[in-house]
Amino acid sequence: MMTDAALPKISVRGLAKSFGRKRVLDGLDIDCATGESLVVIGGSGTGKSVLVKCILGLLEPERGSIRIDGIETVGLRRAARERMMQKSGMLFQGSALFDSLSVWENVAFGLIQGRGMERLAAKEVALAKLAAVGLGPEAGDLRPAELSGGMQKRVALARAIAAEPEIIFFDEPTTGLDPIMADVINDLIVKCVREVGTTAISITHDMVSARKIADRIAMLHGGRIVWHGPAGEIDRSGNPFVDQFINGRAEGPIRMEIRAA
């Protein structure tokens, strides 16, 4: 019998998902240990976002198993799914901040609506989380539209960590940011993940970001994980897909898909 220590925080087996005739995930297997920072890399349209959305329950896979803390999450009913969601936070690629709410209300949203916390108490937590990502209390009353892309990413990060989740998903956390702001976000992610001991799954095609935030890297291609290993070993993977991807070569076994997954 497996002990808790050996039990992966997230275990995915045989995951398959298609859109029409396009098979995006094709029997994908992957594990993520408790407190580990796993980065999934892969080209555009290879299904990285689909993988994360399946784990979060935003998309229903056709077949396969997704276990979080050993509990099967595929096919969970709505109430059980909402309870499972309380274990996780997500930073979306485009930040996905709610335009109609102020910055602090965005950060406190999960605490107020999801957990029933009083607004005043939730505001205090939100301002503390904003401070943790380098934003002062004056930012709290602004609207998301008044912030730059980098600032919005910080707010989205503060929202993702506000409820101190056990698992955080980062979807292309540095896409669209200048190199300096990207590094700031990478530092914040490392700080959040390492200091709190959160389990993190990030998806990116930014290798600078992947090398900085990953304990382990997995390469997704053709609907499956074609290589995975410690972040420090990626340059010696000996895998032609990984070599082509990390060196950014047009020539190689990877042919870019035209349609997005």
């Binding site: 997500m90 690629q93 485009g94 709610f98 335009d99």
Partner: protein, 258 residues
């Protein structure tokens, strides 16, 4: 011939599938009303948005509708010396038909379009997925308050539109056509029955629900970026307007067919 029938069959099946999806969507959203949490702050905000902010446009439409109705009735009825019925025709037309239908159509254009655009933008920018990841059911948070707000607020709006519309008719009747004010008001009340107003308010509640449902449904399932949101907005307004006219007939039939 077979191809033609197959095409008709395909359209009919697509219509049934779309109706099924709409009914399931409405059912799932309404089912969230029976268990907490209740997002009363969002409900109140939607009621203000649908009701208070629609008052100017609904008021203007109602007053001019009442004025035109009085003028047209007068010119028509004067051909057979029935000018005395103008006040009655105005009040019955406004309360039974024009108040709810015109208010419904105006709100469909103003509020239905805005709902589809807002929820559609939330869909294409991952904000709806973000709600789910924050342990918040999007149907409970986004859709249910709008449906309830539409259901409650439109009858109030229609009541206001009825009063303003009848007042518009009074202005024309008394100040332009020279009717005696007291006689006009007496005629307005004389033949007005409770069912005339109630049927209009029932229509308003149904129209409010339809407008909110169409706005939410088309926004919720929009895809394809800005173009998809634009398409959702158009579908929301057109489908709500058509359904308002269809249900106007159905409810009229239910209340007044003998």
């Amino acid at each position: 011939m077979l191809t033609f029938l197959a095409a008709i069959g395909a359209v009919f099946l697509a219509f049934l599938a779309a109706t099924g999806r709409l009914v399931v969507f409405a059912g799932l959203a309404l089912a969230t009303a029976f268990t907490p949490p209740f997002h009363l702050r969002v409900l109140f905000s939607e009621m203000v948005n649908i009701g208070y902010y629609s008052l100017p446009v609904v008021g203007l439409t109602a007053v001019f509708t009442g004025m035109v109705l009085a003028l047209q009735s007068h010119t028509g009825f004067s051909r057979f010396a029935a000018e005395g019925a103008v006040a009655t025709v105005v009040v019955l037309s406004i309360t039974r038909e024009l108040g709810p239908v015109i208010t419904g159509l105006m709100v469909a254009g103003r509020v239905g379009a805005a709902m589809a655009a807002e929820i559609g933008t939330m869909r294409v920018t991952d904000q709806i997925d973000a709600l789910t990841t924050l342990s918040t059911d999007p149907l409970r948070y986004l859709v249910l308050p709008r449906l309830v707000a539409g259901l409650i607020t439109l009858p109030i709006l229609v009541l206001v539109a009825d009063i303003i519309g009848v007042f518009g008719g009074y202005l024309i009747g008394v100040y332009k056509l020279g009717y005696n004010p007291e006689a006009y008001l007496n005629r307005t009340q004389q033949y007005l029955e409770t069912i005339d107003v109630v049927s209009g308010l029932v229509k308003a509640a149904v129209f409010g629900f339809i407008v909110a449902l169409m706005g939410c449904y088309h926004g919720y399932y929009s895809r394809g970026g800005a173009q998809g949101v634009g398409r959702a907005t158009t579908y929301a307004v057109v489908s709500a307007s058509v359904l308002i006219l269809v249900f106007n007939y159905v409810i009229t039939e239910a209340f007044f067919a003998r």
